[in-house]
């Protein structure tokens, strides 16, 4: 091979194909949309686009850990509304925001603990256990609220909906802090590195002296806590709490994680950064098609088509990469 080709080959070798594909598709969408929909490139749309997917983004961080450990967590769809309702109840009884929020997050982590405990003691697939817990939570949420939205938060709480930190809404700040935390931890912290070992080869992890059950407990509790945080932020944003929040959020979150390159079939493959990119991709797609003016049902078709295209393209690039090398 010629030297020129060698440099190209070396470059291709270093690029993460999955990320490259997502970027490519996003660039295409942004280019096409910005020429077609005048509002697409506006600051207002950017803010809306981020807001559209911020709750899923937060939950995707925890879901990444769960999927990396070789599991799955469907409880988030029940925990998100539950946490908003619990917050409304606590604050309705006169508790100030901070202690109420802390209590909600702790309470929901406890649900994560119970989920994992049932998974372990009944030795059931996490899909089954978490789906059951989600169903229970849905029933609890409906029972508490009687099917209608809860409002009547104090004014100081309502003010948080429009509060900004460094010019950003509260939810963005929370996400940035959490994402940074998990990027650093999964890269450098022993307890988080163990998630990869346990997901990659549970048997080997056990024989390597890793307490695998502790790792599982940690990831399910984190996932539940993040869903609780998303629930609190939802309650802040809409000054309401409702059983209807977070319906099907589990599927959107899992799709986000998968698009970001975390393997659903083999634990231990993937990263938080990939999930963040997947989040951006999903946010762009969800926003672009609403902006596009396509008929509403065609939007759903397109969302599916682009998800498949993302996967196919990265497969194709992988093939090209092997060919070049």
């Amino acid at each position: 091979m010629k030297i020129k080709n060698k440099t190209v080959a070396a470059f291709i070798g270093r690029v993460n194909l999955n990320y490259a594909t997502l970027f490519l598709i996003m660039i295409i969408i942004v280019a096409v949309m910005s020429s077609r929909a005048p509002y697409f490139l506006s600051a207002a749309n950017f803010a809306v686009m981020v807001n559209t997917f911020i709750m899923e983004a937060i939950m995707a961080l925890g879901m990444t850990l769960v999927i990396l450990s070789g599991g799955i967590d469907l409880t988030v769809t029940g925990i998100l509304p539950f946490s908003s309702i619990l917050l409304a109840l606590l604050m309705g009884s006169g508790m100030p925001f901070m202690p109420a929020a802390v209590l909600v997050v702790l309470g929901c982590s406890l649900i994560g603990f119970v989920t994992n405990f049932l998974r372990k003691t009944l030795s059931l697939h996490p899909m089954v256990v978490t789906m059951a817990i989600a169903a229970i939570l849905k029933g609890v949420n409906l029972t508490i609220t009687g099917g209608s939205a809860m409002s009547g938060f104090p004014d100081s709480f309502k003010a948080m909906a429009t509060m900004t930190v460094l010019g950003m809404p509260l939810s963005w700040v929370v996400y940035i802090v959490l994402a940074a935390f998990f990027i650093i931890m999964t890269k450098f912290n022993r307890n988080f590195i163990k998630v990869y070992f346990v997901g990659g080869n549970p048997e080997a992890a056990k024989l390597s002296g890793i307490k695998t059950e502790r790792v599982y407990m940690m990831v399910y509790m984190i996932s539940a806590a993040l869903a609780a945080i998303a629930g609190i932020l939802t309650a802040i944003t809409y000054s309401s709490a409702s059983y209807s929040y977070g319906t099907n959020a589990d599927m959107r979150v899992i799709t986000t994680v998968a698009i970001g390159g975390t393997s659903l079939t083999h634990g231990g493959k993937g990263s938080i950064v990939g999930t963040m990119l997947g989040t951006l991709f999903m946010a762009v797609i969800y926003d672009a098609f609403i902006m596009s003016g396509l008929s509403t049902y065609y939007q759903d078709v397109m969302t599916g088509v682009f998800l498949i295209a993302a996967v196919l393209l990265s497969e194709f690039f992988r093939y090209l990469k092997e060919k070049v090398q």
Binding site: F188, G200, K206, G209, G268
Partner: protein
């Protein structure tokens, strides 16, 4: 005329040339072995014959006519069948279903004719001399039996050329003997057998011819009366290996580190006593299923114990979990590196520190990346892992022998005082094998106590200082290795009168 002839076969994967101008002839009713180190191109060559790969250039000539195959199904149509290295038995189906997978006898309407399937399976199994109930669930059979089912599966397709890729790597000696009888029988029926193996003694024992591959080139073909170990090894590695095994322990009076008394676990093993001394290698020999691995796992805390006591440095101890054992300096290097040893999708460096995460972390739990790189590079150098810059490679991309070395590195990094190794050289080529043997010896000399579980008798005799023999869950004998003969050990294995009740 040869039944099958390979002419100038060349094959590359990307820039990697795996086979170069390989020529071979296979005759009717003959066992023709192919031997070579890992990566010499044996498996690729077999896959070309079996229709899985196509050669870049060269011809496969069957009965004098060149053939081109696009899939294993076409190969079967030509009467060529492969028994692969990895068993392709579906564990939860019956033996008969496995034998006739994808070619089930059916009634006209397309429903499976179970009666015919079971009787045909019975016949196919009888043809390879096995008396296995075709309605048995295949997963319940021993690995050896499964291998025989696998062969029956291929034979049932009326093959003329049977290729076996490392068929004995999972078999005990007794099961292997059984397999060789079957092969001999098939040979007499006129089947041409192509036999691939690492094990020199097997090859010499059964082959009519042996061809040696080195780095994708055929270095020679020997006939029955030309074969001997030294010649074959020279042709394989291109040099003399010198002494096959490392020297024995320089000193035998180290103190006992790990010992046990009366270890028992229901249906697994019974009343096992052993002691491991500092600086010494204890070989544990037995056939597959003798309970050796089970004892090790129980001592290690991965499985429970029903009875008995384990002593560490003279004090009674009971490891509650593997992490407990590792924390006390007892490590277990597992039999199957892919299933329970390594994280194949992770980087080499991550694997190396996976059992000593605590020691490469700050107090707050953050990893010291520089230290990890340092440790990894040190072990890569010390264990001579190839390529030498593989620190960031994924395990999946290393060869079997190098994977095995990383597995050692992982446990060495944990700085254990006791190392239990289970089948350390399974599936490893001759060069890497002697490397691993000398590593084990070096570890012992550095003050570690080593327990080596192995089914290869020459390895046990060559490497160990003491040998413990197990059979059917019991300890049957213990010997000093110096001057010990294979006969003595085998007698100890079979002297058992009763098994585990």
């Amino acid at each position: 005329m040869s039944v099958l002839e390979l002419k100038n076969i060349t094959k590359s994967f990307g820039a990697n040339k795996v086979l170069t101008d390989v020529n071979m002839q296979f005759e009717k009713g003959e066992i023709h072995s192919i031997i070579g180190e890992n990566g010499a191109g044996k498996s690729t060559l077999m896959k070309i014959i079996g229709g899985i790969y196509r050669a870049d250039s060269g011809e496969v000539i069957l009965d004098g006519k060149p053939i081109v195959m696009h899939s294993p199904i076409e190969a079967y149509a030509h009467g060529i069948g492969i028994v692969h290295q990895e068993l392709s038995i579906v564990g939860n189906m019956t033996v008969a279903q496995n034998v006739f997978v994808n070619c089930e006898p059916v009634y006209k309407a397309g429903f499976i004719n179970w009666k015919k399937m079971n009787s045909d399976a019975k016949a196919a199994l009888a043809e390879v001399g096995a008396d296995i109930d075709p309605t048995e669930i295949a997963g319940n059979l021993s690995v050896g039996m499964q291998q025989i089912v696998e062969i029956a599966k291929v034979i049932a397709k009326k093959v003329r050329i049977l290729i076996l890729d490392e068929p004995t790597s999972a078999l005990s000696d007794k099961e292997a003997d059984r397999l060789f009888e079957i092969l001999d029988d098939l040979k007499k029926k006129g089947v041409s057998i192509i036999f691939i193996s690492h094990k020199l003694n097997e090859i010499i024992r059964i082959s009519d011819k042996v061809s040696v591959l080195r780095d994708g080139v055929r270095t020679g073909t020997l006939t029955r009366d030309e074969m001997d170990e030294a010649t074959i090894i020279r042709m394989m590695v291109g040099r003399d290996l010198g002494r096959l095994y490392p020297p024995r322990a320089s000193s035998r009076d180290g103190q006992v580190i790990l010992s046990s008394k009366g270890l028992s676990r229901k249906n697994k093993f019974n009343n096992i006593d052993f002691s491991l001394k500092k600086g010494e290698i204890l070989g544990v020999f037995g056939l597959v299923g003798a309970g050796r691995t089970e004892v090790a796992l129980s001592v290690f805390g991965a499985d429970g114990l029903d009875e008995g006591t384990v002593y560490l440095n003279g004090e009674e101890i009971s490891f509650r979990s593997p992490s407990d054992a590792v924390a006390h300096g007892v490590c277990y290097l597992s039999e199957d590196r892919k299933i329970s040893g390594l994280f194949v999708d992770m980087e080499v460096r991550e694997n190396v520190v996976s059992a000593c995460l605590r020691s490469v972390c700050s107090r707050a739990g953050f990893l010291n990346q520089g230290m990890i790189s340092q440790i990894t590079d040190d072990y890569i150098k010390e264990l001579d892992v190839h390529p030498s810059d593989c620190s960031r490679f994924r395990i999946r991309n290393l060869s079997g022998g190098n994977q095995q070395k990383i597995l050692f590195a992982k446990w060495l990094a944990a700085k254990p005082s006791v190392l239990i190794v289970d089948e350390p050289t399974r599936g490893v080529d001759v060069g890497a094998k002697s490397m691993i043997h000398s590593i084990l010896r070096r570890l012992a000399e550095s003050g570690m106590a080593v327990m080596m579980i192995s089914s290869e008798l020459p390895e046990i005799l060559g490497v160990s200082d003491r040998v413990m023999v197990m059979s059917e869950g019991r300890k049957t004998a213990e010997f000093e290795a110096e001057g010990l003969t294979e006969e003595t050990v085998m007698n100890a294995v079979f002297s058992m009168d009763g098994g585990l009740k």
